[in-house]
């Protein structure tokens, strides 16, 4: 099929315009698969039930924190919009193995210390929960 005979110059311009508009609409309206966190929050679980927020850090930030807990505590590093527990004085080291928290909704939990580190954002996270 000879497309140059089928479509005139104006026809091609109209098609190109519609395609560009479509691409623009897609880029503007498609949901993000990852949401950037704006705050890092540390929660301590209380022995008798309930919890309290012990630390809130606005992101981006560059900070090293030592968080005390019944099992000895843990070392938290905040690096821009990411955070990681890079050392913990608890036997199972699950919070260390969690690696970097990057997306809003990511959580690192140290059970013996009763501490939860989580990234939050006013935007909606892509997941309601991440199953380990």
């Amino acid at each position: 099929m000879d497309f140059r005979r089928l479509f005139g110059r104006w026809d091609l311009l109209i098609i190109a315009f519609v395609l560009v508009m479509s691409a623009g609409a897609w880029i503007l309206l498609a949901p993000d698969t990852e949401v950037e966190p704006t705050t890092l929050r540390v929660i301590r679980l209380l022995p008798g039930g309930g919890s309290e927020v012990v630390q809130e850090i606005s992101l981006p930030a560059q900070e090293d924190k030592w968080l005390e807990g019944p099992a000895g505590g843990m070392a938290l590093r905040v690096d821009g919009r990411e955070a990681t527990v890079h050392h913990a004085e608890c036997p199972r080291q699950i919070c260390v193995e969690m690696g970097y928290l990057r997306t809003a909704g990511d959580r690192s939990i140290c059970v013996p210390n009763g501490l939860i580190v989580e990234l939050i954002s006013p935007e909606e996270s892509p997941y309601d929960h991440i199953l380990r």
Binding site: G8, I43, R102, L131
Partner: protein, 353 residues
Amino acid sequence: MNRGSGIKSAYLLTLATLVLVVASVASFPGCGPQAPEEQTNLVVEDALILGTIVTIRAHAPREPDALRAEVRQVIDDMDTLGCRLSLYCEDSETARVNASAGESVEVSEEFETLLGYALEVAERSGGAFDPTVGPVVELWGFYSGDHRVPDQAEITEALRAVDYRRVELENGRVRIESDMLLDLEALIKGYIADYALERLRERDVTGALVIAGPSSIGALGEAPGGRHWWIGLEHPRDPGTTYAAVELPDGEHISTSGDYQRYFIDQEGIRRSHILDARTGWPAEEIMAATVLSDSSLGADGISTAVMPMQPDDALRLIDGWQGVEGLIIDAQRDIHATDRMDERVEMTRDGL
């Protein structure tokens, strides 16, 4: 073809493109027509129960403080029930059965249900899962945290006390033999999660997720906004990233067991998972992760644990034969195996593992 028909074709193409654009935009969440919904408030409550974090995310058309108080009550009830059953509490029913090994002990209806299910999972898994595997778990140091690789003679000796078929459960009474140790921890968190979801349903909560430990989730109703709950599955070797996601509708439960959750690396550099094959006394090593969807958290937890020591094909066959259960297995070579329906439901979020 003359010029008039060329223009007609171009405009038809343009029209079709516009229809596609409108259809695409309408398919984005929040852009299409929606039924009016009742405004709900979401609360998230965490608690330390049986040595793990339990989280409840719940939303309902009530004041946040009132909803939070209700959720806290449910969490307290979970804690009470869990403590009645679990080895974590000194005077639990499991502790009582173990302390009275060799004698028949009266137990509650809840304990009878839990143990009955554990024995069913043991039977259907051909003994790969066994609620009496405790002496071998102890040998590997998974209770104390002092991990070590025992020699085969020690394992063989410990295995003499492992046999679910020697557990007697009848008319509300349980008896284990004097050398045995009962351990239902793999199932208790799922059991109390089911209990919590029942309590939340009775309280007319619009939707809730009960997350018992990092690897078990039960869903009630819908997520805020009227959509299904959306669960990411973490990559077994790249913590903090997901490899797939799945929708969790009302009444469905999902659980993952993996060799990355509790393990140690021995002196030869071999990863030793805390999930043991109760037939051999050695850690599971053919499967890296097993994710199971079921109509209860008890089922999802129990079956995902039970299949871990199996060969991937046997694991998938067991899951496939269980009514209402779907599963996805990542084997040690990082190949993915899934039941047909699971394959249709899971959305991969990255290429390969």
